[in-house]
């Protein structure tokens, strides 16, 4: 299932709507990388509210994605991770170290504004 990615000013917002397969995650990574380059986006919010599980592959792929986007000039914020999903991640031994996280989309966008400093075309 393809994750919808919305362009909002200089930001991109990817909202995961359902459980993702490994292929879905890899595709999300590729599409975000392509769109950040094409639109010269400065920030990306990935909303994981609908994600049932963050296993080792999903955590690793998201971490790689954030690093890749940073190299292309965009800051990434992960939002919406359910508390029980976060707890399971920690028990498993995974973390999202080095990645900014926020409670929800609104907080995520506010954090991006702080990090990349808004500028022309910014959303809020």
């Amino acid at each position: 299932m393809e994750v919808p990615i919305l362009k909002q000013g200089s930001y991109l917002i990817a909202s995961v709507q359902s459980a993702l397969t490994d292929a879905d995650l890899r595709q999300l990574q590729e599409r975000l990388a392509g769109m950040v380059s094409r639109h010269r986006s400065r920030g990306v919010v990935v909303d994981l509210a609908a994600m049932d599980v963050m296993d080792s592959f999903a955590s690793r792929t998201l971490r790689d994605t954030a690093h890749m986007l940073r190299l292309r000039g965009a800051a990434t914020v992960i939002v919406g991770i359910q508390p029980e999903v976060a707890f399971a991640m920690v028990q498993l031994g995974m973390n999202l170290e080095g990645i900014a996280t926020a409670l929800d989309l609104e907080d995520g966008l506010a954090l991006l504004d702080e990090r990349v400093g808004g500028g022309p075309g910014h959303v809020r």
Partner: protein, 133 residues
């Protein structure tokens, strides 16, 4: 229990199916939301290992009973290459692939019981249980 299931693991999407079937059974058994996430995560790890190292296999989720305790039993079975050194494979950070080596030791932490049997050239069976508190 109606939600017992055997899920063949051949494709990536089967990993998602396996953890969803496990979650459904665990939910029926009365596990909390938090426990459902732990169980689903462990199933995801062992199912992915099947796909990655053996190519195919199956994950069975069933009700476990031990005296008055009830819980969920997850069995991940494959006839892949097997694991030469199980103690090493169970160590955090050990991976022969491009992983972080958290799948097996992490699943052991997520569940109450964890057993692994493996023979080189024959295959691997991981059996995990979690009891309803």
């Amino acid at each position: 229990m109606s939600d017992e299931a055997c899920v063949p693991i051949n494709w990536e999407v089967d990993v998602v199916t396996a953890r969803q079937r496990g979650r459904a059974l665990a939910s029926e058994l009365g596990f909390s939301r938090g426990d459902l996430a732990l169980i689903a995560t462990a199933i995801s790890e062992v199912a992915r290992n099947i796909l990655e190292y053996a190519g195919h296999g199956e994950v069975t989720v069933a009700t476990a009973q031990d005296g008055r305790r009830r819980g969920i039993m997850v069995v991940a079975r494959d006839e892949g290459p097997g694991i030469a050194d199980i103690a090493l494979a169970m160590q955090d950070g050990y991976s022969t692939g491009k992983g972080l080596g958290v799948g097996l030791p992490g699943s052991r932490r997520l569940m109450d019981d964890f057993e692994i049997a493996s023979e080189v050239g024959k295959g691997t069976t991981v059996t995990m249980r979690k009891w309803v508190p």
